[in-house]
């Protein structure tokens, strides 16, 4: 969809724009090789020359881009073996695409014709910044995933791994997780505690949200603030307080104590999501149900609950993840018998840096992604049902 008719750029402009990108990547590669400044200069110079050559001499796009891909891949292979080949080929493909993207003014094509050059620049800068933030957020997770398949017992990318050799990888840390009694006990505890805490959070949180959403409740804001407070008060304060309180009443070091503590942490999430769903709930429906002779309990389960269910479920998922990921409170309120997965990971990381933790982390990341995908799908469904979404 070409919005704007374009004319190709001059070789000089293309070379300058390519030099900027070359300098950017040169900085990283140069730093990795020992000299960032040298990397910037070489990267900028190389890309400027290539762009100039493509604009003035070669001019045909397909062969030029193929040559870039193969050339960079070959240089990468010569310098760094298989990993170098992959990185080099990716860079070559990207540079080839970029030179023609700039050189043929394609970047201008999809934008409105009346934009000034400054606005066009900002349009792309903005996307680059967003991409950089995304990379910043996701990199730690991306590093953990391959390391969890490490064949060695350290958090190290071994030479074998970097050369993509099969012997550098193994599933032994996953096997360790599945066979070690320490990990299995903590998994069992987590799987036991989190759903119970979730059920309590959802029941109490939903009731509280419904109560607080009706106008005639006195001190609504104050009550709301108190119920939300576990989310705001620093966790370590709640944990220390709970430790001394639970010790006195005999709940410290019991499953019930941990479940109650986690339920208290989960309730705010349920209240917030359910309150938000209730904003869109039409009260006249409950009155209509009452008019037809339904008692409040029937009304709740037959009319109100199905409509606010997406909010309840997403609140429940947040409560579940809170309990499943929680380490501070359980360290205080629990004893070794209630050791949960995060606790085991915490001590494992401190006393013994073993990639088993990474294997567990990978599994948890996958579970979290599945849960959050469910939440998002439910949210979309509820929007669609309420007609807020265009579909």
């Amino acid at each position: 969809m070409a919005l704007t008719p374009v004319t190709p750029q001059t070789p000089g402009f293309t070379a300058a724009a390519s030099a900027a990108v070359g300098a950017f990547f040169g900085l990283f590669i140069g730093t990795a090789q020992g000299s960032g400044l040298l990397g910037i200069l070489i990267g900028a110079g190389l890309l400027a020359v290539l762009a100039f050559v493509f604009k003035t001499i070669v001019k045909q796009e397909k062969p030029a881009r193929l040559a870039m891909l193969l050339g960079f891949g070959a240089v990468g292979f010569a310098l760094g073996g298989v990993p170098g080949l992959v990185v080099g080929a990716l860079l070559g493909w990207f540079f080839g695409w970029y030179i023609f993207f700039v050189g043929e003014s394609r970047y201008r094509q999809t934008l409105a014709p009346y934009l000034t050059p400054g606005q066009v620049l900002w349009h792309y800068t903005f996307r680059v910044i967003c991409g950089a933030i995304f990379v910043f957020l996701i990199t730690p997770i991306l590093v953990v995933l391959p390391l969890s398949f490490n064949a060695e017992d350290f958090f190290t990318f071994t030479p074998e791994m970097l050369q993509f050799k099969a012997e550098g990888y193994s599933l032994k840390h996953y096997r360790d997780f599945l066979t070690s009694s320490d990990w299995q006990n903590s998994l069992k505890n987590s799987v036991l505690i989190a759903p119970m805490a979730t059920i309590l959070s959802v029941s109490f949180g939903t009731l509280a949200a419904i109560g607080l959403s009706s106008e005639h409740v006195p001190f609504r804001r104050a009550i709301m603030a108190i119920l939300i407070s576990p989310m705001i008060v620093p966790l370590i304060i709640s944990a220390a307080g709970m430790y001394f309180f639970y010790s006195r009443i005999g709940l410290q070091g019991t499953y019930l104590g941990v479940v109650l503590a986690h339920a208290a942490l989960g309730i705010p999430f349920v209240i917030i999501t359910v309150t938000a769903t209730l904003v869109g709930f039409d009260r006249s429906l409950t009155r209509a149900a009452a008019n037809m002779g339904a008692d409040p309990v029937t009304t709740f389960f037959k009319v109100q609950m199905p409509l606010i269910l997406p909010g309840v479920i997403s609140g429940g998922l947040f409560a579940f993840i809170t309990s499943f990921d929680e380490v501070v409170v359980v360290l205080f309120v629990g004893s070794a018998g209630q050791k949960t997965l995060p606790w085991q990971m915490f001590t494992g990381l401190r006393e013994q840096i073993s990639p088993t933790i990474l294997a567990v982390a990978t599994i948890l990341v996958v579970i979290s992604i599945m849960l959050l995908t469910t939440v998002e799908m439910l949210r979309r469904r509820s929007e669609r049902l309420r007609g807020m979404s265009p579909q």
Binding site: F154, T156, S247, R248, M305, G337, Q352
Partner: protein, 367 residues
């Protein structure tokens, strides 16, 4: 009304299930230790035979690193949940002084040696506190990367301070203990006078000045697992850590690392029983201690980890590594070949000067 029934069922499960779990606590005991390979060796050498013998089930808690703080909190809350705690000797002394650990009479509460020698004589000088039953002798010493030190591997602890011969980062523990002694030793103080010098403010300045010469090349560690990871990564050329950790890196993980035993610092690790246990739990804890610190059990632990057993009568019984089948004796810090030049952690000195020197060390670190 299927939905309500389901909810009611779920709710009642949520509330009742924990109580069912709480009920079978009676014949369990919680043993606190350090985790990792060390806990594993105790599990194999002590816990498993004990559980088999008595039917008690043992829960492991890996909280020894914060044992003092946690025991204080438990005492304050009036709810001691630990039965037996593994701590280093210095922590045991502190807990004993504060009345948080119970006193143990070695002659009536511990097993005599097989030849009839009393436990007090068998442990000898290692019974450094009335509340403490020593279990192992471990040492803090250096390991180095064999492939990063060139043709002349380091032979003396002073090579750690020699940036010209061995360029690269070193890992040192983030506390003054041991580092101050090594610094003075390498600054030309004779070994016998190290603590006399370290008592004075000038001596402390002198040690810090020596450490200052390598400060920019130091990676500071605080957990025993840090140095092995750094060595395996090649992030550091050499680093101090516990000798058992280095054994595991070298023999079990097959990394290009070697030991530098020079000026290793011996320390003791052992059991305490928290004060204020109920009679029933105290009897069980004492029964466990009697079993787990006898001559054979201590020798058994050395099959799994390269720490020296604290009883003299155990030393001849130390055999081969359970999985690797190598002789464990040459890997013990107490082996004569390794123990040519050693320190013993100076409990009295550090009890008196720790707070003061800690403050100076931290201030120096922050500079």
């Amino acid at each position: 009304m299927k939905f309500t029934k389901l909810t009611a069922l779920a709710l009642s499960t949520a509330i009742c299930a924990p109580m069912a779990f709480a009920a079978d606590m009676a014949d369990e005991m919680t043993i606190v230790s350090w985790g990792g390979a060390y806990s594993n060796s105790q599990q194999k050498a002590y816990h498993e035979p004990y559980m088999e013998k008595t039917g008690v089930s043992i829960i492991n808690d890996e909280s020894s690193a914060e044992a003092v703080a946690k025991l204080r909190a438990m005492n304050e809350a009036g709810n001691v949940t630990w039965d037996v705690v593994d701590v280093v000797a210095a922590d045991a002394m502190r807990l004993c002084d504060e009345g948080l650990a119970m006193e143990i009479d070695p002659d009536t509460m511990l097993a005599p040696a097989p030849d009839g020698t009393s436990a007090a004589d068998d442990f000898g000088d290692l019974l450094v506190s009335e509340c403490f039953i020593p279990q192992i002798v471990y040492s803090t010493t250096f390991g180095y990367r064999t492939d990063l030190v060139g043709d002349t591997p380091p032979t003396s602890v002073c090579d750690v301070f020699d940036l010209e011969a061995y360029p690269g980062k070193r890992a040192l523990e983030k506390r003054p203990i041991n580092n101050m002694e090594w610094a003075l030793l390498c600054d030309g103080v004779p070994k016998a006078e190290v603590y006399d010098v370290l008592e004075t403010a000038e001596g402390q300045e002198r040690a810090l000045a020596k450490l200052d010469t390598i400060k920019d090349s130091v990676v500071w560690w605080s957990a025993g697992a840090d140095t092995p990871q750094l060595l395996a990564d090649g992030e550091v050329v050499m680093g101090s850590t516990y000798n058992g950790r280095l054994f595991s890196v070298i023999e079990e993980q097959d990394q290009p690392v070697a030991m530098l035993w020079d000026a290793q610092v011996f320390d003791l690790d052992g059991w305490i029983i928290p004060a204020g246990l109920s009679e029933e739990r105290k009897a069980r804890a004492l029964d466990y201690i009697y079993f787990a610190t006898d001559t054979q059990r201590l020798a058994d632990q050395a099959k799994y980890i390269s720490y020296g057993p604290a009883r003299q009568s155990s030393a001849p019984l130390v055999g081969k590594h359970e999985e690797l089948g190598i002789d464990m004796a040459p890997h013990m810090p107490t082996d004569p070949e390794n123990a040519k030049n050693t320190f013993l952690y100076n409990y009295e000195f550090w009890a008196d000067y720790r707070d003061d020197i800690d403050a100076k060390f931290q201030a120096w670190l922050a500079k």
